[in-house]
């Protein structure tokens, strides 16, 4: 199809994106904003399919909209359940309204200037002839990269060093989260319908993850999309109220977390010892080495994303034999969470928002 015939679709997508972004940002109801943000992510994924970026679209749908949304929603839910200390509520912001309005105007003008400059510079860049030297170099060297999907070639061969550091960023975030405290308590069973869905969905998700990992070499997919899908399977189990969600325990968990960066460094240093440059795969081996790195990275990405969703180090499980089958339940640490506590009425989500605001003070 030609570009002009897609113009209507383009217009619709762009209008929905801007509207969704605007409505997600306006207002004070946190839950509403998060849901709109997730919708924005899904429409963005559609826009990226339209712009012939299916790899990115998959990642955006799974990570940008899916897992980031799940993280934010879990935060909203938790905030709206906290018992409300009177002191925090009474301490509303006491900024002078005049100063606030001036500040709001100043920042708004600044952002408008920013949008204008960005757009102006972008218009100049788009008006000049497109820079095709780099994409040409990518396709010229695709043969030697070991994979035929150019995005995977860039991610895991030409710019593999970026991906290595990116996995280090993911690891850093989880280590930082671990240092802040234990995981949030688990969920109750969400009822038979969701349970049935989970039973059906989880194997499909695991299968899809394996497929995405494998297919990434020559078609849209790869370690990040696969890892996110695998993580989604665990998150679904968690939401269904299961205690065992596929995460290993103790030292094994640390090994899985470190696997992505570890495999990268091992391969890189191994090649260095063998007289090749760091991460300079010999072309006949490149495909295999990339798949090896991607497999380890998929597990590490899945584990770290799940741990980020749990919000801390999972509590150790005590295995006990119940009704003839092995059941694992978390050893209670700290205050036990009563089902009543969970089922109690939820204050409006906007209130949750204010509570976070107070904890944040004037920042």
């Amino acid at each position: 199809m030609s570009d002009t015939s897609l113009l209507v679709l383009d217009g619709l997508l762009v209008i929905s994106l801007v509207t969704l972004a605007w409505t997600a940002l306006a207002g004070s109801d946190a839950r509403r904003s998060v849901i709109l943000f997730m919708a924005f992510g899904l429409v963005l994924a559609a826009a990226w399919v339209r712009l012939l970026a299916p790899d990115v679209a998959l990642a955006e749908a799974a990570i940008g909209a899916g897992l980031a949304g799940a993280l934010l929603l879990a935060a909203v839910r938790e905030q709206s359940r906290q018992p409300l200390p009177a002191r925090i509520v009474s301490k509303r912001s006491h900024n002078k309204p005049g100063v606030n309005i001036a500040l709001q105007w100043a920042v708004s003008v600044l952002c408008a200037v920013l949008a204008g400059t960005l757009a102006w510079a972008l218009a100049h860049a788009l008006n000049s002839a497109p820079q095709n030297a780099l994409p040409r170099a990518v396709s010229a060297n695709l043969e030697a990269s070991g994979v035929s999907n150019p995005v995977t070639a860039v991610l895991l061969n030409f710019r593999a060093y970026d991906t290595l550091l990116e996995l280090a960023v993911l690891l850093t975030a989880v280590l930082g989260i671990f240092a802040l405290g234990p995981a949030r308590p688990g969920y109750q069973s969400a009822g038979p319908v969701f349970d049935g869905l989970a039973r059906w969905l989880v194997p499909v998700l695991i299968l899809t993850a394996g497929y995405l990992l494998w297919v990434g070499a020559h078609a849209p997919g790869g370690a990040f999309q696969a890892g996110a899908t695998l993580a989604a399977a665990s998150v679904v189990l968690r939401l269904a109220g299961r205690h065992q969600i596929g995460l290993p325990q103790g030292p094994a968990l640390r090994v899985v977390m470190a696997a992505g960066v570890g495999m990268f460094v091992l391969v890189g240093l191994g090649l260095l010892v063998a007289g090749r440059p760091f991460l300079g795969y010999p072309p006949p081996w490149a495909g295999g080495l990339i798949l090896m790195i991607e497999s380890a990275a998929t597990l590490a990405i899945a584990a770290t994303l799940v741990l980020a969703f749990l919000g801390g180090q999972p509590r150790p499980l005590a295995v006990r034999v119940a009704r003839g089958r092995i059941a694992a339940t978390p050893i209670p640490t700290g205050k036990p969470v009563s089902p009543e506590g969970i089922r109690s009425t939820e204050p409006h989500a906007a209130e949750a928002c204010h509570r976070i605001q107070e904890t944040q003070k004037r920042c």
Binding site: G191, G196, L197, V204, T345
Partner: protein, 94 residues
């Protein structure tokens, strides 16, 4: 002939989508909106998928389309159930 049928199916699907969206906007309470949304979207997507399947050349594509429909069916049924249950709990506790 097949083209006409396919176009009719797609159009019907779009019609259901439109009805569902109007229902979502106009109906008075959560349950009826949910009803409008899930029923219409499932049927709408089903007709859309059927129309596109008629249009496609390969069996694999047809299977993929069918899978999409089934996945959406399951997800929308489960989420409609969860939303409705949550709403009813809130009513009974408050």
């Amino acid at each position: 002939m097949i083209d006409v049928l396919s176009a009719l199916l797609v159009l019907a699907g779009v019609g259901f989508y439109l009805t569902g969206s109007i229902g979502l906007l106009r109906l008075p309470d959560l349950y009826s909106r949910l009803h409008a949304l899930t029923k219409a979207d499932n049927l709408g997507l089903g007709l859309l998928v059927a129309g596109l399947a008629l249009h496609s050349q390969e069996l694999l594509t047809v299977l993929k389309l069918l899978l999409i429909w089934l996945a959406v069916l399951a997800a929308s049924a489960a989420s409609a159930h969860l939303i409705a249950r949550h709403a009813r709990r809130q009513e009974t506790t408050s």
